[in-house]
Symmetry: C2
Subunit: 653 residues, 2 copies
């Protein structure tokens, strides 16, 4: 097997520029804005001090001028949606700060922008941007986290006073895990079942004041502290219970549904379910920010672990009198380098997603919107799991040192842990992705026997045909040029790799559609049918995301102008592909896409690529341009190297 | 495919008794001793208060009468080594307490017992047992964690004063992560390179006082606090640096090596390396305790997650008006039930390991000792990874609730995280296991060209031929009775399963030996050869442990006297086997042990077994008899069910 080589070095500046991408200016601005400002995490503090510090740091962010990025130009913002997501991702070294910022400007502010109308924008946006009005996003309830369509909080319109009565009927209906609620929030966007004239119109959002100017809960508002969490303890999560709290009619965020003074309900979207999912769709930015931040945290963890692994030595190499640098061990490379390759892949996929989000804003293309939502759901699931797994691996790769708070990994681990289940539980999200993909097969279900199935599958994702990525023409060209299958080096051919991923996705999805159809007799229970195939459903979503991510990586490399740099990226891409194939090679073997010999050669190739990339590992991770303020771990900033020098000096004399 | 059924119910008392096993009395005693004693974890406290509380709780353990279990009868202990390990495992709900107890009585006390002689036992054991003398186990150094044979602390004998001079020559040589060091320890077992008359004799242990009666560091002893860690913050880990600290000649724990007053060195074991590993071997109990405790923590996490999953509902089941219990989802079953099955498997394997340890004490069988060490290394690695993974899965399976401190999972996660790298880094341990297995092939390497290789492989594990488990005759009988390969239900046949695991182990190991031999030419660098095969090496160890664990599970079921209970255990064992096969089915396919059809049927069988076991899941996890004091999570003790009742009552009227 001829494993392609890497050049002796590459152009770090070129790679950094490529990675900074479309929002390079925002990244540069954030890096500058953070310099000299103390945004260091407060995780060593007690809860109250940690929360207080995080709030202070939020005010520092206001001064930095990056918090208005996502708000409309008409109201003093910068109208740069993509930039706002990218700027949050840059806060990966202080995730309490990132999440509290995300709550204030992304979720709370974002909901007012997206679901409100001029009357809300004029009145509140300036005070939201400058943090005079700290707010909450009160959607999740104790009893309903994933199934938010069935929230139980009610907002009942009273025409006599022209007010809504917001009410929590029982404990399961209280608002749960609400950021900014336990300590700082003054107002909340509350999602509730809207009732007027005795009719229910589904979930709508209202602005409900929760604290007075002095910070005391308002009458009828009961606030409970969620207490300590695994991480993110700088964020004051709380529970909100409303006891017949009255707000004026105008408190309704009325872009997608409004109530006349007399109680008449009106909405531009007649179908209740479609309306709800349209509203949810406008809030997609939060999910995309979580994916970006998870990716950022994984990069920081890799930066720490790789720098340490490149310095740390253990066990004498027989006959040399020298101890071995741990990154020279194959087992250590295998822990860190495929994760590094995947971080690159996801970086490019995230940039593409943010670009799509940014460009979509003025679009009315419903299909494109569904596609964006599906892409966001899939990438959020895959990236947050990647972060959880990678940070765990990095912790273990640093041994006992990785367990010390001073080396940052414990906090990164604890803070990011919730990412896999908030802003959409990953397992639920992947099912949404799969259902979206299955709508391509909807016609197959459209007979009497399978009508229930079709409904169950299609659900909110009607018409989401997900096929295109930005890289399609390039992908097609590469795939068409792929050599025949018999060359043993074919596994390094990008076209072959692309076809392999593409083919896997099609086959898994075809198989799933067939399986569902087969199981759907006249009397079949759609729930049972779908539940019995749940592992297949999740698989379909995963392999779809794998393909999308690979295509984004390929497109990213295409933008690289320096030959040596591109060559290194090509090997990283090979490693991403082949370690992904290796992990799933059971499927490729079961479906005769690979034979035994080739499957074994994939493992061999992963090992060899680890060796090729090992000399570049630290330079590669540095190219992400993580702000230096976020790197404080002594093991990654010279302590280990210093100790070894002292030991060598002692040993030698 | 005929997936074997489970009975409607089983005998919980019978299962509980079976699981309590040989040390049922100790388990019962601990359960009783914990009742009414406040040993609740102090993780919500600041570091100093948490440490103080943990120390107080350590004194409560003394009163409970379980801390002397592992000490010799001759000195007031109970001489029950196995019981001492089991009792530690029962502390899984307060892991700071467990670890601090493990440091005091397992590591510190255990080292004095195992490496010291009468003069040390008479003088110290009573005060160690009753905690008058809190101590440390100072082996690890900042520069040497895994490779402890190369520690740099020195103990140089000075015949003029008949003292040892204990010294830390440079920062890499300071003692690191030492439990009990930062706050409470008065004395430390310090591992150092022994030098006398200018000759080095390798690592030995000495008793070095580190604090005076008032708790101040003694002259020449510099103590630094390791600060906050990811978890276990009730344990005061610290760094110890010695500046020419003098201790009397008698401070040397002299069972395996002594220095005469004139400086003459003498040891019953001539070979320095063999002596060191013999000393290490006597300390194996700590590693076994970590495995047990990790297993205990995983069980507790599963108890919480399964009870919640059995109560929590989400998403209406179309057409029923009822929301679905989340444990009815296949995806949720797949997260939790294979982990439950593996917990049972590891429970039986751990019991077998503890029994072997217990029975070995008076034995001089070097081969059996090596085998025990290998078993302990392998099981520690596999069980601690299982704990990390399972607790993570449980956290995610509980969604946002799993992120709240009140629901215990965050602390379990944070506390157990270090288990995969302390008491032996898992990756290093698995390599030891593999090297032990390879010594069976040593003859094949024994020619001139491969002599270096043989040395490199055999290392400390000379002669460790690992074959036997307690269940061998039973296993042989079942394997011999296995039907031919053509029946589609063969995958449920225990004999077939046993042969499958056995065959995989043999094949992987044979292949590894061949590969190493092939690569070992006259000029081959043994390091390179071994490093290039490191993934293969780790694989060999893993599949070996899988086989050992399965045999222990089979033997455990054989001891079950109730038919229905045994039937449920049989299905759990099937799930353990088939989910393990599923995970590694790429290997089975690559090596033509399974064809595509059968590989797919394994996945189908895992799904079906999840369904069969789902009704028993909560009863099964309850049978472990985790002390009730450790279950405090509101989501697992009725809060969720209560909320749903309130919601239902409200909805209905």
């Amino acid at each position: 097997m001829d494993v392609p080589k890497t050049p002796a070095s590459f152009d770090r500046a070129e790679l950094a520029e490529l990675l900074d991408g479309r929002w390079a200016q925002v990244r540069t601005h954030v890096r500058r804005a953070l310099t000299g400002v103390d945004l260091s995490p407060g995780d060593h503090l007690d809860t109250e001090s940690h929360r207080a510090r995080t709030l202070e740091q939020l005010h520092l962010l206001v001064e930095s001028g990056i918090t208005g990025l996502g708000f409309p130009l008409s109201h003093g913002g910068q109208g740069d949606t993509g930039g706002s997501v990218v700027s949050l991702e840059m806060l990966s070294g202080n995730l309490s700060l990132m999440v509290k910022a995300g709550v204030q400007w992304g979720l709370f502010g974002g909901a007012v922008v997206a679901l409100g109308t001029d009357r809300h924008h004029d009145r509140y946006l300036a005070r939201i941007m400058d943090l005079q009005l700290p707010g909450c996003f009160a959607m999740t309830e104790t009893g309903h986290g994933s199934d938010v369509q069935r929230l139980r909080t009610t907002a009942t319109y009273d025409p006599a006073t022209e007010e809504f009565v917001v009410h929590t009927p029982h404990e399961a209906a209280r608002k749960e895990y609400i950021g900014n609620a336990a300590r700082d929030g003054r107002m909340a966007v509350v999602f509730a079942q809207l009732i007027t004239r005795g009719d229910r119109h589904g979930v709508h959002a209202l602005l409900v004041p929760i604290r007075d100017e002095r910070g005391n809960p308002l009458p009828g508002v009961h606030i409970e502290d969620c207490g300590r969490k695994a991480g993110l303890n700088g964020v004051d999560n709380g529970r909100l219970t409303f006891d017949h709290v009255r707000v004026p009619r105008e408190a309704l965020l009325n872009r997608y549904g409004d109530v006349e003074p007399d109680g008449t309900y009106a909405s531009p979207i007649a179908n209740e379910s479609k309306r709800f999912f349209t509203m949810l769709g406008t809030l997609i930015r939060g999910r995309i920010s979580v994916a970006g931040t998870a990716g950022g945290a994984a990069k920081l963890a890799l930066r720490i672990a790789l720098r340490y692994a490149d310095a740390r030595r253990q066990f004498e190499r027989p006959g040399t009198g020298e101890e071995t640098v741990v990154l020279d061990y194959l087992a250590h490379q295998r822990k860190l380098l495929p994760a590094l390759a995947k971080s690159f892949a996801l970086h490019f996929a995230q940039e593409e997603l943010v670009s799509t989000l940014h460009d979509m804003q003025s679009s009315d293309d419903a299909r494109a919107q569904r596609e964006l939502e599906s892409r966001a759901a899939g990438l959020k699931a895959v990236t947050t799991w990647h972060a959880t797994q990678t940070i765990q691996t990095c912790r273990e790769a640093c041994g006992g040192a990785g367990y010390l708070a001073e080396n940052q990994l414990p906090q990164l681990k604890a803070d990011t842990d919730v990412f896999t289940t908030f802003e959409g539980d990953n397992t639920v999200l992947l099912q949404l992705v799969a259902k979206g993909l299955l709508t391509n097969y909807k016609d197959q279900f459209d007979d009497i026997g399978t009508l229930g199935m079709a409904r169950f599958v299609a659900d909110q994702f009607v018409g989401a045909v997900i096929e295109r990525t930005a890289a399609r023409p390039l992908v097609q060209r590469l795939a068409d040029a792929a050599p025949g299958k018999d060359d043993e080096n074919v596994i390094f051919d990008r076209g072959w790799q692309l076809r392999l991923f593409d083919d896997r996705e099609k086959h898994v999805l075809d198989g799933l559609a067939r399986r569902l159809r087969r199981a759907t007799g006249k009397d079949a229970d759609p729930f049972e049918v779908f539940n019995n195939a749940q592992d297949h459903v999740l698989k379909a979503a995963r392999v779809h995301v794998d393909r999308v991510v690979l295509e984004a990586f390929v497109a990213g490399i295409e933008r690289c102008r320096d030959r040596d740099t591109a060559a290194v990226l090509e090997r990283l891409c090979d490693l991403y592909v082949l370690s992904t194939v290796e992990e799933d090679r059971a499927w490729f073997l079961e479906h005769e896409r690979l034979n035994s010999r080739r499957a074994k050669s994939v493992t061999e190739a992963v090992n060899a690529l680890c060796g090729r990339l090992r000399p570049h590992a630290v330079d590669l991770v540095e190219s992400f341009g993580i702000p230096d303020q976020w790197l404080t771990a002594p093991i990654a900033t010279g302590a280990e190297a210093g100790r070894q020098e002292a030991q060598r000096a002692y040993d030698e004399g």
